[in-house]
Symmetry: C2
Subunit: 145 residues, 2 copies
DNA sequence: ATATATCATACTAATTTGCTAGGAATTCTT
DNA sequence: AAGAATTCCTAGCAAATTAGTATGATATAT
């Protein structure tokens, strides 16, 4: 039930892009430096996000990445799903219904469904705009302090 | 963000014990057979639950396991925590606050806190009694059909 | 041209997961 | 007293996953 670094790094990079939305492109090098993580690794993650249609890129000098939609139109669920393959706790509860012969009679299924429901709720209703707003106001507060 | 077999098998075994609460002891062999999984593996899991104080045991012939408290007094969160070490999505959000230097300034932290909060909500308020009740009424329904 | 980027792919070390195996200790039954 | 049934304890291991490295090709602004 752990969240991998893929999800964590990826989400943070996307929030970074969201806070700078409208200000041009940002390179992987810049994003990686901001988080203090490996460029090559983050590059892989962003590449996945690009294939998922969540970011746009431009190659060559002065190139980089930017969000492909308004921050308010990108949910964190989409991002995690792209990075981690799925946001399902277990196969037999997700949209695919795989991996389980006794799904209909499983004594634990109601619990998993409830839990997954709460998770999806948060992931689907929280957007990058929400996160960027939170972050900016928090930054302002600490500036004043 | 996946739930391991440890958590799944363990929870199901505990629900089995809950539905039989008050009817004596049940052996690992019986519990494993009910789920159709390896005895030796489930044995390990139950042993962890015992160390966590969630089940009682009696050794020797006719021995086995039973819940050490009323089903209504055992939350699924306790069980998962015992089996998986923790129910935290990431270290820097749990009760221990480890693993993260910039917790105070992390742009993703509000999201993780919210998500973890919803998860804990379900895990802490759902008891074995709830699950056993759900299961039994479901069984009755399918008997009639 | 050259420096700066993305893009693509392959490899690898460490960790975690999901078991299996073997035997010791305890208790009921006969 | 013997044997069967059971928990208890520990070690080992194969497969999968995670968390990266490494290398080089391709595209583009200056």
């Amino acid at each position: 039930m752990k969240l991998s670094t893929r999800g964590r790094y990826g989400i943070k990079a996307m929030v970074d892009l969201a806070t700078e939305y409208g200000n041009g492109m940002f390179s992987v090098a810049a994003l990686a430096a901001r988080q203090g993580i490996s460029e090559a690794y983050l590059e892989q993650l962003i590449s996945v996000l690009k294939k998922a249609g969540l970011v746009e890129s431009s190659r060559g000098a002065q190139g980089g990445y930017s969000l492909s939609r308004y921050p308010a139109d990108i949910s964190v669920g989409e991002i995690l799903k792209a990075l981690e393959g799925s946001t399902d706790l277990i196969g037999c509860v997700g949209s695919k219904r795989v991996n389980c012969e006794n799904a209909c009679t499983c004594s634990a299924r109601p619990l998993w469904l409830k839990l997954q429901g709460r998770i999806n709720d948060v992931l689907n209703t929280t957007t990058l705009a929400d996160m960027a707003d939170d972050y900016i106001t928090q930054q302002n507060r600490s500036d004043k302090a």
